[in-house]
Symmetry: none
Subunit: 153 residues, 2 copies
DNA sequence: GCAATTGTTATGGTTAACTAGAACACTAGT
DNA sequence: ACTAGTGTTCTAGTTAACCATAACAATTGC
């Protein structure tokens, strides 16, 4: 059971935070089709928000086909998000990212610095790879297909 | 000269978008002390927002010590953000991240999937559970929630 | 059938973000 | 001194998010 966390100090609407947490959990595989979301009243008491706010979040999720609400029963996951990726590949990517984050922290970068870097790289137009980057990418792809035969790091 | 971009379709306040763009440019080294920001009226015409909105953004930046506004002259960068990291190290980290993003794309991940992964890794305290352990925990929680049925209906 | 639980709707009020238009105050260049 | 460009303030209005309360509707479990 996902448990929500709402931060009212910022300017991010509470309902948007709830929606985003469900979407993120779906992307990470922490929620699957059939899983039950907390009831509206549970979220109301645990997050100190209004029922209409929770309902707005759940309704937005339902409109995008991610959940299904049934009166008297509850709200259940009914869709997927991106999760078409192989869990094992996902896990390898997470491990490499964890290493990268560790190195970045050691270089003095704060979390926000890393987030800015990610935003910047994701915004770069794809397909402008240098030969060096292409080689590195090919090597990494080989390692991902055959994780046992670890090549030069 | 930075040029702002404001998206009014979402629920993110316009002034917050301006602030965030300046902070991000500072973190990436795209803006330095002494650089001039666009004038209030320039932003008003280029982004179709109100002068009060731009002023609110610039004021917030000034309160956090990042910029300095001088009447009749303009608004200038007067502070730094995190960017204490060595530019060369920054470049290396960017290159590695670019490779990682390429591999993630090849594995079928969308940009939002990667963002969720980054958020998740940044949120885990040093020495956190591995992805497999987290998945196992999520599965156990699901089974405890729905002991006999596999889903709704 | 009945009671408890759940999602849903309705009404009204509060607050903050944003917009609009105008005017003011300071500075730099001529 | 003058003009133009700059940041700044003011008043007023619109919109959206959120809260509070209550009632309604459908399902579940006994």
């Amino acid at each position: 059971m996902i448990d929500f966390y709402v931060d009212r100090t910022g300017s991010v609407p509470a309902y948007a935070q709830l929606v985003q947490q469900v979407r993120e959990a779906l992307r990470l595989g922490l929620l699957r089709t059939g899983d039950k979301l907390p009831t509206v009243r549970e979220v109301v008491t645990s997050c100190a928000v209004n029922a209409a706010t929770v309902l707005k979040a759940y309704r937005e999720l339902e409109l995008s086909g991610l959940v299904e609400a049934r009166q008297g029963a509850g709200t259940y996951i009914s869709g997927t998000l991106g999760g078409s990726a192989d869990p094992a590949a996902m896990d390898r990517l997470r491990g490499r990212l964890r290493t990268w984050v560790g190195d970045a922290r050691q270089a003095g970068l704060e979390d926000d610095d890393m987030r800015a870097l990610v935003t910047s790289v994701l915004a770069e137009p794809p397909g402008e790879l240098s030969a060096e980057q292409r080689a590195a990418q090919a090597q990494a792809a080989r390692e991902q297909q055959n994780p046992r035969s670890a090549g030069p790091r």
